[in-house]
């Protein structure tokens, strides 16, 4: 089950905690992976760790031209593209009343618009090949909201709508589009929390602990697999029970 041998996958934001875990997990199931991110050294280090079947495709997703070039570059490196994981994300938290246009725009650009552009580019080849898996990495706050994250919550909720609309359009071409909504996961994004914030968060998680990147990556493996062929337009919550839908 969940064998990805021969599948070709692009993971954005692969230098982040989640993206790295997703790239490792897809690779571990046999996929060829193209890893994308902004920090070349970190990408090279991950590529070195994975060894074979890995390609580095550097891209800064806040740069429109870089976004447009990414899928063609990954397709060229991999010889096609079966799985796109839109994982790259940034935060620019601020209270709504204080939020600058730039903070809003940059989060929407990287977390939502880049996913739109990359999916649009990837679907073209997937339609021709009559096979595709798009996995968008959302967030629990896209469903629940979160004070101080108006931009981030809007982008992540936007991904859910994008996922459903695209899923409906391309289902007849054997392409599935799904979303994973992680809760609080151990990563550089949650490492910055202080002890009090941490305790406050854990009080809301029935499982009583933060999640691990590998636990989110396992959901990505499933949604990327042949076995998930009949699952589309879905948002899979991986959050230790902190929000139940």
């Amino acid at each position: 089950m969940f064998d990805l041998s021969g599948r070709k996958a692009l993971v954005t934001g692969a230098t982040g905690g989640l993206g790295g875990a997703i790239a490792r997990a897809l690779h571990g199931q046999g996929a060829h992976v193209a890893i994308s991110g902004t920090r070349r050294e970190a990408l090279e280090a991950l590529a070195g760790e994975l060894g074979e079947r890995v390609h580095v495709v550097e891209a800064n997703l806040s740069d429109t031209a870089a976004v447009e070039a990414l899928v063609p570059a990954a397709e060229a490196a991999l010889g096609g593209l079966d799985v796109l994981v839109n994982n790259a994300g940034i935060t620019r938290d601020n209270l709504f009343l204080r939020m600058k246009d730039e903070e809003w725009d940059s989060v929407i650009a990287v977390n939502l618009t880049a996913a739109f552009r990359l999916s649009r580019a990837a679907v073209k080849g997937m339609m021709k090949r009559r096979y595709g898996r798009i996995v968008n990495v959302g967030s629990v706050v896209g469903a629940t909201g979160n004070a101080g994250q108006g931009n981030y919550a809007a982008a992540k909720a936007g991904l859910v709508g994008l996922t459903k609309a695209l899923a409906a359009e391309v289902a007849s071409r054997k392409i599935t589009v799904n979303c994973i909504a992680p809760g609080f996961i151990t990563s550089p994004m949650t490492d910055v929390l202080n002890e009090k914030q941490r305790e406050g968060i854990l009080a809301t998680v029935p499982m009583g602990r933060l999640g691990e990147g590998s636990e989110v990556a396992a959901a990505a493996v499933y949604l990327a697999s042949d076995e998930a062929a009949y699952v589309t337009g879905h948002t899979l919550h991986v959050n230790g029970g902190m929000a139940m839908f």
Partner: protein, 78 residues
């Protein structure tokens, strides 16, 4: 029929799985050949590939019949 017309016809038959006799110049992809809107996008992509041309979105919107496609490609390819 010209060479271009034959190639267009073959793409339409292959893609939409329709009887070759139905693929006449006047046949409308959606109304007569059962295509949906995504099929028409795929047909345009297939024409682009076969004839090595780029069909801009505004031109693609005007290609609604087999004859429209042949006419456009006769004018713009090769």
């Amino acid at each position: 029929m010209s060479d271009i017309a034959d190639r267009v016809k073959k793409i339409v038959v292959d893609h939409l799985g329709v009887e070759p006799e139905k693929v006449t110049p006047n046949a409308n992809f959606i109304d007569d050949l059962g295509a949906d809107s995504l099929d028409t996008v795929e047909l345009v992509m297939a024409f682009e590939e076969e004839f090595n041309v780029e069909i801009p979105d505004d031109a693609a919107e005007t290609i609604q019949t087999v004859g429209d496609a042949i006419k456009f490609l006769e004018k713009n390819s090769g």
